[in-house]
């Protein structure tokens, strides 16, 4: 596959790996404690685990798996709202497969489907619009999830619905934006991160500028990164180079896809259809200013929240879940006392166990769970005061 296979080449990987080791060694000559580098995006987390990238890195580098998984940070109360919509008899509720297993306070969409709700998994919001066209007597709702990568697609679908005069189509909008979420992490007083791999496909839409504050205000290096394993290794080398030279800049490793200004038609569509919320609740991270969006007033008739009554109840996370600490890089997934105990991919308790993109689910699937459990027990024996 063109543009894919070349970026999975093991020979080039070895070269990049050697470069990373060499740079890390030089950096570690004049610092103690590990280098904490966050990959914000769940897509990167997936690549890192799928290709075993952590094994290739020197011990000095710790990758912190960030909150860039829209399913993981979806609050339980919002899932409950989605369920309330899906259970309405006139509604065909459509969603990406990712959201099917996310637990609300009582059920997931998958369970509601079992109970008879008309819930359909689709590849594209355009397919939801097609369903609306084909079923004029039903109300088709699309569960709009995701960061800026996905926002143009739902916005353009709304604009298409408007053009065609389709009235039985609406979005249940749960889009969130990247920069305010990164800012919230950087503002945490416990934050110890040394640099960021920024999400390449978000940048493809919004461009480089929205990340400038990371380098300028917080003096952290940031590299916009592609999703193949070589992209990640190269970006890590670029981050280390910046750290070594004492620079903090926004660099773009993913130039084959990301243009400096991003995608203009996509930005225009987003600006038309969405407006920023004052505050948005993110699961595990709490309330973040301006991170979420809702459907703008001129398009209110495509807003499922205004079209149908919703319970809108806030549901707090289960007690003892330390998702937020994992998201901020304060602890590793296996250091949470619930990990692989009461929280498993079969019965996820916390958000990060839900999606295969979630850091905890990734650890559970790809790492050796027994070894991690032993590691945790040893740590708690050595430091009984922890937690």
């Amino acid at each position: 596959m063109k543009y894919v296979d070349e970026f999975r080449d093991p020979d080039k990987a070895r070269k990049a790996q050697q470069q990373i080791h060499r740079l890390a060694e030089r950096i570690m000559q004049c610092r103690s404690g590990p280098l904490l580098l966050m990959e914000f995006c769940g897509g990167h987390t997936h690549t890192i685990f799928r290709y075993g990238i952590e094994q290739l890195l020197p011990e000095a580098i710790e990758l912190v798996h960030g909150p860039g998984c829209p399913v993981c940070v979806l609050p339980r109360g919002r899932v409950d709202d989605a369920l309330a919509l899906a259970q309405r008899p006139e509604v065909i509720f459509t969603t990406f497969g990712d959201a099917m297993r996310v637990p609300g306070s009582r059920q997931s969409l998958l369970q509601a489907k079992t109970d008879g709700a008309d819930i359909r998994m689709l590849y594209s919001p355009l397919d939801a619009l097609k369903l609306a066209r084909e079923n004029p007597q039903r109300e088709v709702i699309f569960f709009a999830l995701g960061f800026e990568t996905t926002m143009p697609s739902t916005a353009l679908t709304v604009l298409q619905a408007e053009r065609e005069g389709i009235e039985n189509f609406s979005l249940f909008c749960n889009h969130i934006t990247t920069a305010p979420t990164i800012e919230a992490i950087l503002n945490d007083p416990d934050m110890k991160l040394d640099g960021f791999l920024a999400p390449g496909h978000v940048s493809m839409v919004i461009g480089e500028a929205p990340f400038a504050f990371v380098a300028e205000r917080f003096a952290k290096p940031l590299v916009i990164t592609g999703f193949e394993p070589l992209d990640i290794l190269q970006s890590l080398a670029m981050l280390l180079q910046q750290i070594l030279e004492g620079r903090s800049e926004v660099e773009n490793q993913y130039r084959r896809v990301v243009q400096k200004q991003g995608n203009h038609p996509g930005q225009q569509a987003m600006a038309k259809v969405f407006q920023r919320n004052d505050r948005t609740e993110l699961r595990g991270l709490g309330s973040i200013d301006h991170s979420g969006v809702r459907i703008s007033d001129p398009y209110a008739r495509f807003d499922a929240e205004r079209k149908f009554p919703l319970p809108g109840v806030t549901v707090s996370d289960p007690a003892g879940c330390r998702c937020g600490d994992v998201l901020k890089g304060l602890i590793r997934p296996w250091q949470c006392p619930k990990f692989a105990e009461s929280c498993t991919p079969q019965q996820p308790l916390g958000a990060l166990m839900v999606s295969s993109e979630g850091a905890c689910a990734a650890y559970h699937q790809y790492a050796d769970v027994q070894t991690l459990k032993i590691k945790r027990q040893q740590a708690s024996v050595a430091d009984p005061g922890a937690h």
């Binding site: 999975r8 799928r50 990238i53 998958l110 397919d127």
Partner: protein, 340 residues
């Protein structure tokens, strides 16, 4: 005769009798069935000449849509049960079939399915000797469900067991992974993808027979159906207390199946197959066995995909094309298409 199945076709009366005679008896035509007894009867002495153990298995088939590129529910119902017998080293002989039909199913559809079953049975050299038909009201099932059970005979000296894989053994696979799973995802049409992927649905008893003739010391075999290759390897690893090490670069996957997996975020290791088997064999026999497999039409794209190694904790270890390694776990529930 009406052209759709009604509840009367399952009532035990005239309509049912007519359906049995005009469709099942004429299509499956064989002496045992023609007796119209409540059970098929076999001469034990004849069976005993073929081996020293009887193998018996059953499986139910529910698939949406009923017809998909490369097969249909009827073909699936025969190959699935034949393959379950074959990978145990048995020569499949007789099948039963039970139909659960939703009223309203066109009789032409049922006829097409039954004819496909008979064609596949002939190909697999088995006879459908007994059967049952039930009709349920609309909504009681989805169009058509089929159960088949099968018996076969295991020749003396053949003893395959998933507990016998040993460090040093090699792991073989008889062709492309994931064709069935990809064909079904596509045939459902919800994802609006266009391609030419066909299910790999095929009986394996001929291939297995050639394999056992060439290499009676094969340790174990299993067909990689639901849960895909990953699940079979996991079962081997647990039962034999070994690590199954496979190399991603050696796994045969069609470009189109790869393309579909990339688009939908699926992993071909977990996609279903309906004509693929995994075999574990002593290293010394592997090269010759591979040649025999490749010479058979059901094994043309066979490959050695990995080896068995000692395990402190049994499991499946994949060496990625990228040169790193990762553990392969079983699936948690069905693989769902994802955008993240």
């Amino acid at each position: 005769m009406s052209d759709i199945i009604t509840l009367a076709h399952g009532s035990g009366g005239k309509a049912m009798d007519e359906l049995i005679r005009s469709l099942f008896l004429t299509t499956f035509a064989n002496p045992q069935l023609a007796q119209m007894e409540d059970q098929a009867r076999f001469d034990l002495a004849t069976l005993q000449q073929q081996g020293d153990r009887l193998a018996f298995t059953t499986d139910s088939y529910v698939v949406d849509p009923l017809f998909f590129p490369g097969g249909d529910i009827g073909k699936l119902a025969v190959t699935g049960t034949v393959n379950d017998l074959a990978v145990g080293g048995a020569r499949p002989l007789y099948l039963s079939c039970g139909f659960i039909i939703e009223e309203g199913l066109p009789i032409a559809t049922l006829k097409a399915v039954v004819e496909s079953m008979q064609a596949t049975a002939r190909e697999a050299d088995v006879v459908i000797v007994t059967g049952d038909t039930k009709v349920v009201p609309r909504g009681g099932c989805d169009k058509l469900f089929i159960n088949t059970a099968g018996v076969g005979v295991i020749a003396a000296g053949i003893d395959l067991s998933i507990q016998t894989a040993r460090p040093g053994d090699l792991i073989l696979l008889n062709g492309y992974l994931g064709d069935h799973g990809a064909a079904i995802v596509d045939a459902r049409g919800d994802l609006a993808l266009q391609n030419t992927i066909a299910s790999d649905c095929q009986p394996l008893q001929g291939l297995v027979n050639s394999m056992l003739e060439c290499c009676p010391q094969i340790r174990c075999m299993r067909d990689a159906t639901r849960g895909g290759l990953a699940t079979v390897l996991y079962e081997f690893a647990q039962a034999s207390a070994c690590t199954m090490e496979v190399e991603e670069s050696r796994l045969p996957v069609r470009d189109e199946v790869r393309g579909m997996c990339e688009i939908l975020g699926l992993d071909p290791l977990y996609l279903a197959n309906e004509g693929k088997l995994v075999a574990v064999v002593p290293e010394a026999a592997a090269t010759e066995l591979l040649q025999v497999m490749r010479a058979h039409p059901a094994g043309r794209h066979s490959a050695i995909i990995g080896r068995v190694s000692q395990a402190s904790r049994p499991g499946v270890l994949l060496t990625t094309g990228f040169g790193s390694q990762r553990l392969i776990d079983r699936l948690t529930g069905e693989q769902l298409p994802r955008i993240c």
